[in-house]
Symmetry: C2
Subunit: 335 residues, 2 copies
Amino acid sequence: MDRLMKPTIYDIAQKAGVSAATVSNVVNSRGRVGEETRKKVVKVMDELHYRPNLAASVLKGKPARTIGFFVPDMLNPIYMEYVKYAEERAQACGFSIIMCSTENDPQKERVQADILRQKNVDGFIITSKFQNEQLLQELEQEGFPSLCLAHERNEFQFDSVTGDDEQAGQMAADYLVSLNHINVAMIAEKDSLSSPGRITGFQKRFQELGKNAPPVFFAEASIERAKKVAKEVIREKKPTALFGGNDVIAVGIIQAARELNLSIPAELSVIGLDNTFLCEIVSPQVTAISMPVKKISYKGIDLLIDKMKSGRDVRKAAVYPPALVERVSAQKRKK
Amino acid sequence: MDRLMKPTIYDIAQKAGVSAATVSNVVNSRGRVGEETRKKVVKVMDELHYRPNLAASVLKGKPARTIGFFVPDMLNPIYMEYVKYAEERAQACGFSIIMCSTENDPQKERVQADILRQKNVDGFIITSKFQNEQLLQELEQEGFPSLCLAHERNEFQFDSVTGDDEQAGQMAADYLVSLNHINVAMIAEKDSLSSPGRITGFQKRFQELGKNAPPVFFAEASIERAKKVAKEVIREKKPTALFGGNDVIAVGIIQAARELNLSIPAELSVIGLDNTFLCEIVSPQVTAISMPVKKISYKGIDLLIDKMKSGRDVRKAAVYPPALVERVSAQKRKK
DNA sequence: GTGAAAGCGCTAACAG
DNA sequence: CTGTTAGCGCTTTCAC
C-alpha cells in the first residue's frame, strides 16, 4: 500500500491476514466474526487510521446518512432555530445536514434539489412552502422521503411536523381577552402557510367569547415591512393591543410603537408568536405564544429517518401544542 | 432498464445508440464528441431525467463539491451570518455546505470531522478556534484543504480570511475619543481568538492619543453573561462609555443599562463590534464597528475552492478593513 | 470521433 | 466462521 493513499478495506485485510469481506463485516458489525479476528482487524484499522469511504457503500446502495434541509432565508430567527435543533438531532442520529437556502425561488429549489439527489441525500426537510409545485409532485411520485417542517401540505403525501397554529391563535386571543382588550388587531405574515391557522384560531376565539373578530392585516416577513404596516394600523385603528403573527412581526410592531412614541405595554400591548430568541432581545421583552421548536425539529428528524428506513407509505403528521410565555409587552387594559 | 430504477449512463448510452464513455464525455463536456451525437445524447438524458450519480464519480476520485462548515453555536447571530453568506457563495460556485455544530467540544469536532471525511467532503471551513489541536495537526499534515474564517491560527498552515480586529478596536477608540469619552471600559469575549486583536487596537489607540488605556473585562459569548458583567462594570467604574467586543456583548450591555435605569446614550454610550442584525433590532439601535461579513464569507469560499483545485501549499490570508456604522447608542459626552 | 475495458472501495450472496 | 466473487455507476486511458 502506497504510504500516501488512504487505506482501503484491502489494506486492512492484508495486514490483518483476513479477507476484505471479513473486514467489511467487522466495520458493519454484520455477519459472524470470531472475537479473535475482530480484535485483530480493529487493531489494524486503528493503526492505519482506517476511515471507510462512504462513496463506495453509497454506490452499493447504502444510505448516505445525509439530509437536505431547505430554508427560504437563513437569517430569519425562526428558521435558524429549526436548523439548529434539526442539526443537533441529526448529529445524534448519525446524520449530517446539508443546508439549502432557496430565497423562495422555484428555480433554486429545483437546481438544489437535483444536486442534492445527485449527492444521494437520503431525504429532504422543507421548512416553508416550496414555490416549485412540480418539484414537489416529482418527489411525491418517486416516493423520495420528504417532510414538511412547521407547515403542512395536505395536497401531498409528505409527513409533517408542526405546532398547532390554530390553537396558538386561540391562546393569543384568550390572553388578550383576559387582559380586557377589545380593540385589537392582528398583523399576519403574508403568503405564509402558518398564517391561515393562526388567523382562524385568533378570530374564532374572539367570536366564541362573544366579541367581534379582530381585523387582520398582512406584512411580509421582515421587521421593516412589519413596522410599516404596524404604523398604519396603529394610526388608523388605535388598538389597545396588537397580535404579531410571528416574532419578526411582533418586533416590527415594537419598533413602530417606539417611533410613534407609544409606550409598551402602557399604551399598547403586544403579543408575539413562536417565541424565538428575538423575544428576549428586544425591549420590552415580548410576551409570546411559544411553539416548541426544539421538539418539532427533533420529531421532524425522527420521522424522516423512520420514513427512510421503513419505507412506509402511510403519511404521518405530528402536531405539538403551543404555550403562553408571559413577559412584559402586554398588560391589562387601563380603564 | 427497469422502469423503477434511476437511469444510468448505460441506459442513456443504449437508448442513444452510443457507448457509456461517450455519454460520460457529454456529461462532463470532455473529450471529442461530434455535435450530432452530443445533441442526441442530451436529448435522451432529458427524456429519461438522467441525474448522474455523484457517488460513482467521487469513488473515481472526483470532488464531491461539498464543504464542511464548523460553527460552535448556530444561534449566535455572527455565525449565522457567516453561514448564510458562505452558503450563498458556495451555491453560486456549485458547492454544498454541510453544517456542523460543535459546541466547542473537541470530541464532537473529531467525530464530525471524521464523518465528513468519510463523506469525501472536499474541505473544511472552521469559524472558531477548534478545541481539538490534534485534529488540526492531522488536517495540516494530510494537507486537507481547511480554512479559518474570522480568525487566524498562525501555528498552522491553514488559509484564513478575517476582518482586521486590531483596526476595529482602534476605530472604536477613535470614535469614543472623538465623542470626548475618557472614562471608558471594554467588555471582551472570553476565549475568543478575535479578542486579543480587538483589545490591543482599542487600548493602544487610547495611549497613542495620550489617554489611559481603558480597562478590559471579560464575559462569555452570551447576552446573559455579558449583562451580568456589564452591570458590575457599570456599578464599579461608572464609565460614560462602554465598548462591547462583539454585538452579543453590546446587547448585554444595553440590557444591563436598562435594568440599572441608565439611559442610552444620554447617560451611557455603547458601541458594538461586528454589526450583525442584532444592532438594528435592539433599542436603542447600536452604533457598531462593522466587519464585512459577507465579503469575508465569500472570500473564504473562494480561497478554499482555489486551494482544493490548485493544491497549492503556500498559505493565503486575506484581511478586510472594518467600518464605522453610526446609529444612536453613542453620543458626545455631556460636560 | 467513439468504444472496450479496467477499476475506484465497498457489500452481500454464496461457498466452503 | 471466513473467503470468493460479482457488481454498484462512472471515468479514463488506449485502441480502433
